[in-house]
Amino acid sequence: MSASASVPMPQAMTYREACKQAIRAAIIADPRVFLMGEDVARYGGCYAVTKGLAGELGEERIRDTPLSEVGFVGAGIGAAIAGMRPIIEIMTVNFSLLALDQIVNNAATIAHMSGGQFAVPLVISMSTGAGRQLAAQHSHSLEGWYAHIPGLKVLAPATVEDARHMLQPALDDPNPVLIFEHVMLYNREDVLDPNVTEVDIVSAKIRRPGRDITLVTYGGSLFKTLEAATALQQDGIEAEVIDLRVLRPLDMATVIASVARTRRLVIVDEGWKSGSLSAEIATRVVEEAFFELDAPIRRVCAREVPIPYAAHLEQAALPQTAAIVAAARGLVRGA
């Protein structure tokens, strides 16, 4: 057997296709797994993630639901407790607010309230974020809210590899796992390494090593942050970029080890600053590694407004590469 025959070819694919392949593989592998949500079957998914899957896997396993978020999210929790492994797709994080009661009061609490008699092995996936001129009610980044809740795990795959491989460990986890997919990532293409067949849902990853400053981010802001790091390199500043991947529980060890090397930290988050994930990360660094810091922590976050419709206003409200560059340069150069 030749070496070339046994090594699968690297394959270029979109984030959307990676999500789809993950769902298909999980459903084929385990009869307990099914996906339900609004317009996932006949419409093919609001972002076309599940396009064609209902025809292939059947409408029992790719199940269209009415526009009843509290109903079908609660039903997913019940089905999980009864032995299934549901993937509940909420069209967007904005609509998840209608199901907040079920997620926070049931999914996150039942294991604890029952003294460990029941677990809720459930995956809830949803799109998140702004950038498509969808205005205030369709542009929220509320993953940080969910990361506030004990009893939940929260994932934010940013890369095609994570989009392809985070679902299975999420389904294998005995706890409710929320997966946030940033809307601006679905069309992103990358080459999937066929030798990587699994990833963890525990650790943050250094996406770009650097010695001068640590840039911590996740999800939709990862690529803006990587662009910023490239721009900083032109100035002779080597930025280390950390992709959190997992928003709860946070892998602070990776963040703090990086800050201990670079001694400077910028946090980039599309969520608002007030009472946020970025505030949490900054606080933990201050609590646990204050004396490692040579400079104040800076945050590049969404401006504190409902995200507006007009393109120039929307862009002004969101974290941008130039702002990340400016924040990092300011810390390194003392400006």
Partner: protein, 328 residues
């Protein structure tokens, strides 16, 4: 096929015993609350016992139950041990939820008892999902979902009725209509106060039954469950009942009159059955006295068990927040 209810000596005795156990257990809970052995919110079921006893008598062991924060009655009727329940109310680690749930969150894996939900209507979507999970795994089980008239005000009720009907799920929706959602009277909350009628909007079969009459409740439940097992479709049973005591331990009952409460007390489900059984010659006073004595002994033992119980070590505070594996 509908299973008939034969109200013979044994069955009459069993129904009465089951209701009396709940009544006397909760009388003790009231005392223990006054003496601060039980804390938090506690909602007593006094007056509504016929509903849980009648309906749960019609369930099989493989069936599932979802209940509300007023669920001591369902828990006892379903066979959750009085010891473990009392220890839970004490907050002891020997409690059925190791003291993490308390009065409003009773769970039992062995009894397929899925809480104890303290969000009004929060259990209904869960019940739909449990029925869905059972159906998808080929289990021939019914999920009985108890909720109050207040739940009908919530969107979750309407979404759940629709989903259960749309997807042909074996859910017995049991509305315990006691006329008040805390202090909010049904006629002040609902434009259509006939709750059973609402089912028609979801093509769900329904029936209203006298919830003060345990035999009527059981007969209706057996008929409804037989229909669910035959058709695979949900059913809404509205049980018209009344709670004699306050909503919780912090309720001055400004919203209803003493006369109204007294009128309903005349329909006391425990008294009704007891009188009927005695008049029919099915149960004699001395046997009732023995039942009462047995229950008193059981309650004393439960209190002793709870008193002797121990506190979960504080080091284990975070245990079960995230699970290491799915319990089987």
């Amino acid at each position: 096929m509908t299973e008939k209810v034969h109200l013979d000596h044994a069955h009459g005795r069993s129904l009465l015993t089951s209701m009396l156990r709940i009544r006397r257990f909760e009388e003790k809970c009231f005392e223990l609350y006054q003496s601060e052995k039980i804390r938090g919110f506690m909602h007593l079921y006094d007056g509504e016992e016929a509903v849980s006893v009648g309906i749960i008598a019609a369930l099989r062991p493989e069936d599932a139950i979802v209940a509300t924060y007023r669920e001591h009655g369902q828990a006892l009727a379903r066979g959750i041990g009085m010891d473990a329940l009392m220890a839970e109310l004490y907050g002891k680690q020997q409690g059925c939820c190791r003291g993490r749930g308390g009065s409003m969150h009773v769970f039992s894996r062995a009894a397929r008892f899925y809480g104890g939900n303290a969000i009004v209507a929060g259990g209904l979507p869960l019940a739909v999902g449990i029925a869905m999970g059972d159906k998808m795994q080929g289990r021939n089980a019914v999920t009985a979902c108890f909720f109050g008239d207040g739940a009908v005000d919530e969107g979750a009720f309407h979404e759940s009725m629709n989903l259960a009907s749309l997807w042909n799920l074996p859910v017995l929706f049991v509305c315990e209509n006691n006329l008040y959602a805390m202090g909010m009277a049904l006629e002040r909350a609902e434009a259509e106060t006939d709750i059973a009628r609402k089912a028609a909007g979801y093509r769900v079969a329904s029936e209203a039954v006298d919830g003060m009459n345990v035999v009527a409740a059981e007969v209706a439940a057996r008929r409804a469950i037989a229909q669910i097992r035959e058709t695979g479709k949900p059913f809404l049973l509205e049980c018209r009942t009344y709670r004699f005591r306050a909503h919780s331990m912090f309720d001055a009952q400004l919203y209803r009159s003493k006369e109204e409460i007294e009128t309903w007390r005349k329909k006391d489900p425990v008294q009704q059955l007891q009188s009927w059984l005695q008049q029919a010659g099915l149960l004699h006073a001395d046997e009732i006295a023995r039942i009462e004595a047995d229950i008193a002994a059981e309650i004393d033992a439960a209190v002793a068990f709870a008193e002797a119980g121990t506190w979960e070590p504080v080091e284990d505070l975070e245990r079960f927040t995230l699970m290491d594996k799915v319990p089987q």
